[in-house]
Subunit: 556 residues, 2 copies
């Protein structure tokens, strides 16, 4: 069943009716305040929809009429809810704007095409009239990838793909599936599972993000070691452009010139709109083996991961938290409780195993055919043991697995108490991992201290290795800090800039799987080089000469 | 040690001093003539260098002087040998021209840059003066990728990269290596092997092709199942363009916009010149397990391969010959000999195992860490057995392995006897494999019959599955036919057109690992679409506005 956007939060994460995971956790707040060096945490509720004012629509009757004629009047919607729900994505920065009612830009209308031809017609209408189009899947971008355009265009229309959600074909011999790009993750998986297959793409946004969005932003799921990043499982597809429909044939491999799929993956709606995609699928895993381990040292844990992937042991997931991340979630969860006997025994056990008070947790997972899982698991566990990993059982791994899509639900109640909570991610080679990790942590901590509203206030940085490769790994950071309410946007910008500068200066990529959007754009040229940026601009000029496709994102 | 081009054949394959593998095999010729439905095979020797005439150089004193000033006079060479040796690549079609002395176009000079800055200077000189530049690595293109330009440019210069052959860095932690792009395969492997690593890229041209050429043409080695195609192990690099040096940073993964490495891989010198590359390397395989198997049916064998790769068993090589290929090489090798007792026993054994007279040979190989090889080999052999494969021992696999770079040496003596011998390759999804195989075979056989010089003359088509993937496989065809000498070029063109039309009509890619060059260019738009071609043209305009880079290749 497709998601009805009305059942989801326009200014927060997920289902409107979802349980607040911090409800009744009164003791958590003083604990958090102390951890951040501040006194009481203020109450900072979000403005309800009824209290916000949207900019007046710039879509005049003639423009709107031409659009309605092009694709049908019922597909053009412009209620306050539709416009507000499509004004921005789901980043912390987006929520700062949405929750405060600072909606400087909203789409003047939202269109819901029902076919690829509809999409081409909308793009041609937009090109003819100079109207910005913001392609919108689940709208879960956390990099400003779907912010309503505020540029020179005459108006802005959000192009919501979620009515285009058909599963079109499954080829069980070639193990590929073709679907319309607006299909949500859970619908796609359900349709594949029914035939014994899986795409295996499970980002944290999985329920609220779409196939097309995953490709457009080069997403990675939590099991990408096994199933690949979006650009790897994306085999071919159709892309609507102002110049017409572009079909990229799915080939297992080719040397017929440059692989143009790579122009589409990561194009973030700036070159065209992905309307359908053929993807590489897998048989549903018969067996899953997920376990937790503890390391005394983060980089010793990273060394174990490196050895496992460089030996090409086919694992699905290797998620290694740093000491602060390992400690924080446990401590926050137990804030206000006396340590139990079990806690004390656990602590003594860890201490006896040489892990000290601040170990690092690894979630290790293998899945696939039973025999392959057994072999890989034994081999990988041998390497983990050789690197000093202490088994912590299946329990923590199962809890991580069960809760792995729920993390963002905690953000809303944290934001209700004057807190900032954001994440960012990068990747680099193994030999550069420590340098990058240290630099980003240091930059975040310093920036949070320097932008704090009160003396002694500071932030917390939590990190983990989230994805690993033959030649390197990605680092994922969560940072939490007390907001300086009158200047909360500037404060966030200063922290984001410090971290992004540190990433680039330390040889990391500005994004491993979130994308560029508006937020990472200032750092893109440092990574791609002036010539690389000019190549992107040349492609943009060719496919979108009127410059109406997602202006302000990806292309400087 | 780098190769001295003077020790190699300018109009044939490999080392000048190499042994003729068909020498003294007098009985082979009547056998071959009979197999092709013709009488005696004529003697058609190649013209020696002294008898050929090259077009007069168009590089006047002023142009040549400016070039010599730009990079140094000693790096500009224009002897007859240099010009002839850089006039074309090593395809059958190239050799038809070179051997007959029909050298309509040759570079007016050859330059040997010794640094990336030299290359940028040459490109800027060429752009300023409208001189075509043909980047030239080993010159082993078999698709017309290095043919001297005959377009509107004022002159043509071959840019020979083979003086740029330094190993620049090895990162044993991240398992990457960086080398100048003109390094030959054997030098690169030797340098890596000395440190315990391998790139594992072994195309048939391995000894006579370069790192940059592999990337520019998206090559695949014979163990690409394990080590990947060039675009997969190419992690980053430097590309000289008329706009300056473009640096693409090596990242293990990224979502910072489209992956521009994919613009470089397969660019065939039309966008720039790869001057260095960072590649993903592997530890030298501790163990290798190569074996031969026989199948009664080609597509049953392909099914076994499909199951092995879809179960993600980490094999290195799965090369399945069709009945004609399996038969032909054996029969040609034994032509003129009476069957031995061993032959008769073998035939009876095969017959008893239900394989008939025309089985299909599979070369199966696993390599890597000892334990992984053992596990993969047992698992894969179990699947082979379940699909009816009959073990044929390690002997044939070892013979294949020992001779795997020598195949092209037979082409020259075959061409000396009026024969045509060419290869082509494609790839498609598993579910489309039979359709493509049948169509290409049929088209080749029909075209060879229809273009034959005498009644009853025909060709032979030999095929094999050469590389396999999760979603499909590549097909490699060799075809042999009696040349119609007075119109041998037109004959080849008609055969090539028939096969290429069949590939496109049957859903194959026009090339799996040879590239586009001049020969596949007429079919590129059918594969990439008009929009895809326009994207390539836009990139070309941006990077090479003067249109001097390898004109006539890749970009229609």
């Amino acid at each position: 069943m497709p998601i009805d956007r009305k059942d989801t939060r326009w200014n927060g994460w997920g289902w409107s009716r979802a349980h607040n995971p911090l409800e009744g956790r009164d003791a958590a707040w003083p604990w958090m305040a102390a951890a951040l060096g501040v006194g009481d945490l203020p109450r900072t509720p979000a403005k309800p929809l009824e209290q916000i004012t949207l900019p007046e629509s710039r879509l005049d009757a003639s423009l709107r009429g031409a659009l309605a004629t092009a694709i049908g009047a019922d597909k053009v919607r412009d209620t306050v809810f539709e416009r507000a729900a499509h004004a921005r994505g789901k980043s912390f920065h987006d929520l700062l704007h949405l929750r405060s009612g600072r909606i400087e830009a909203a789409p003047d209308a939202v269109v819901y095409p029902s076919s690829r031809d509809d999409v081409v017609r909308v793009l041609q209408w937009a090109s003819a009239h100079g109207v910005a189009i913001v392609p919108f899947g689940g709208g879960s971008s956390v990099v400003g990838g779907v912010t309503a355009a505020r540029g020179k265009q005459r108006a802005c229309v959000a192009l919501d793909l979620t009515e285009m959600r058909k599963m079109m074909a499954v080829d069980p011999v070639s193990m590929t599936a073709t679907a319309e790009a607006g299909i949500y993750g859970s619908d796609l998986e359900a349709a594949l599972n029914a035939q014994g297959f899986t795409l295996g793409h499970f980002p944290q946004s999985y329920e609220f993000s779409t196939l097309g969005g995953w490709i457009a932003a080069r997403g990675a799921g939590q099991q990408s070691n096994r199933y690949g990043k979006a650009e790897e499982w994306f085999a071919g597809g159709e892309i609507a452009t102002p110049k017409g429909l572009w079909q990229i044939k799915a080939m297992p491999a080719s040397a017929a010139g440059p692989d143009l799929r790579a122009i589409v993956a990561g194009s973030e709606g700036a070159f065209g709109v992905i309307t359908s995609a053929t993807v590489r699928i897998h048989r549903l895993a018969r067996t899953r083996d997920y376990r937790a381990y503890l390391f005394a040292d983060f980089f010793k844990g990273a060394e174990a991961i490196r050895e496992i992937v460089q030996l090409e042991i086919p694992v699905a997931s290797l998620r290694l938290s740093d000491p602060d991340e390992t400690y924080f979630f446990q401590a926050f969860g137990k804030a206000g409780q006396e340590p139990t006997l079990k806690d004390r025994i656990q602590r003594n056990y860890l201490s006896a195993r040489g892990l000290g008070q601040r170990p690092c947790a690894l979630i290790f997972g293998v899945e696939g055919p039973t025999s392959a899982v057994a072999v890989a698991s034994v081999h990988a566990r041998h390497i983990l043991g050789a690197h000093g990993a202490v088994p912590a059982g299946r329990g923590p791994a199962e809890r991580w697995s069960a809760g792995r899509f729920h993390g963002p639900y905690s953000r809303d109640p944290l934001m209700d108490r004057g807190l900032g909570v954001d994440t960012l991610e990068t990747a680099t080679t193994w030999s550069n991992l420590k340098r990058l990790y240290d630099a980003v942590r240091e930059a975040l901590e310093r920036a949070m201290r320097e932008t704090a509203s009160s003396k002694g206030a500071h932030g917390i940085v939590l990190g983990h290795v989230s994805h690993s490769y033959h030649d390197g790994a990605s680092l994922y950071f969560t940072y939490i800090y007390p907001r300086d309410l009158p200047r909360e946007i500037e404060q966030w910008q200063a922290i984001k800039k410090a971290a992004s500068d540190a990433i680039i200066a330390s040889g990391g990529t500005i994004s491993h799987h979130h994308g560029v959007g508006e937020d990472h754009l200032p750092w893109l040229e440092a990574e791609k080089g002036a010539i690389g940026i000019n190549v992107l601009k040349a492609i943009k000029r060719e496919l979108d000469p009127a410059g109406v496709l997602n202006p302000g994102k990806l292309i400087p």
